[in-house]
């Protein structure tokens, strides 16, 4: 599948991936994230069930401490 991840085009062999599978595939190890698929928030509790498929626009924001 072809998706846009953080404004960059990316290709994956799988036809669809759960959010957790996507994070693992991209080695995104940060624990605190905000994730949106096609403009819709994906809550942390849904990272196993929410699915990324061909054509999706995914935003992953890494949160760090400070403020």
């Amino acid at each position: 599948m072809n998706i846009v991840l953080n404004n960059n085009p990316e290709t994956f062999e799988a036809e669809r991936l759960s959010v957790n599978e996507l994070l693992k595939a991209k080695n995104f190890t940060f624990k605190m994230l905000v994730i949106k698929i096609n403009g819709n928030l994906v809550k942390k509790t849904d990272y196993d069930s929410a699915v990324v498929k061909d054509g999706d626009d995914v935003k992953v924001l890494h949160l760090i401490s400070g403020g």
Binding site: M32, G39, L41, H62, L63, S65, G66, G67
Partner: protein, 195 residues
């Protein structure tokens, strides 16, 4: 736009700020200086000596709760400010009640897990309200890495990489840049609405 025109618009606006620490207290100060009408701000913490290297509090306020201390400081700039302070810990169950009625919300927490909780809750409860996030402001120098980037209704201010630590402390110069960048983004958005 003249300052009078800016002030006339800002005076009709309500800004919510989550956190009254390094980002929150300084962002609030900048907005109050240009005539913000109503501020809703929440923090459960107490002013401590270590805060003075970056937060908008004074030595004689050490030991006071931040919300009443910040109210004192802000009213000295503009006694007409409608200051709505919440001396409490923000959690998913009270965020909607605290921030309802805000034209825009500023995220100014320090812990990453709290930032995640707040952002998720705001995106769920107030999906149409612009959210200005502070992310990455530790250390010294590196002015060029501080930016503002937009994702849908979220505006992220900071360098997005510098985690705070003993050898990378958050201190006034750089924290001030990010907090004022947040205030600048808030102002830009509020002035463009012209409601």
């Amino acid at each position: 736009m003249t300052f009078e025109e800016i002030r006339t618009i800002m005076q009709r606006k309500t800004v919510g700020i989550a956190g009254a620490g390094g980002l929150g207290s300084n962002c609030a100060m900048a907005l109050v200086r240009i005539g913000l009408g109503k501020l809703i701000i929440a923090d459960f913490d107490v002013v401590s000596e270590s805060n003075l290297n970056r937060q908008f509090y004074f030595r004689d306020q050490i030991g006071e709760k931040k919300i009443p201390a910040l109210k004192t400081n802000l009213l000295r700039i503009n006694p007409c400010l409608d200051f709505v302070g919440h001396d409490c810990c923000l959690v998913p169950d009270n965020i909607e009640e605290v921030f309802k009625g805000c034209d825009i919300i500023v995220e100014a927490f320090d812990r990453a897990d709290q930032k995640a909780m707040l952002i998720e809750t705001i995106l769920t409860e107030f999906p149409d309200t612009p959210l200005v996030i502070g992310l990455g402001m530790a250390g010294v120098g590196l002015n060029d890495t501080i930016h503002c980037r937009q994702i849908d209704n979220m505006y992220i201010c900071g360098d997005e990489v510098s985690e705070i630590g003993p050898d990378c402390p958050p201190i006034a110069p750089r924290v001030g840049i990010v907090s004022n960048m947040q205030a600048n983004v808030v102002t830009e958005i509020l002035l463009s609405c012209k409601l």
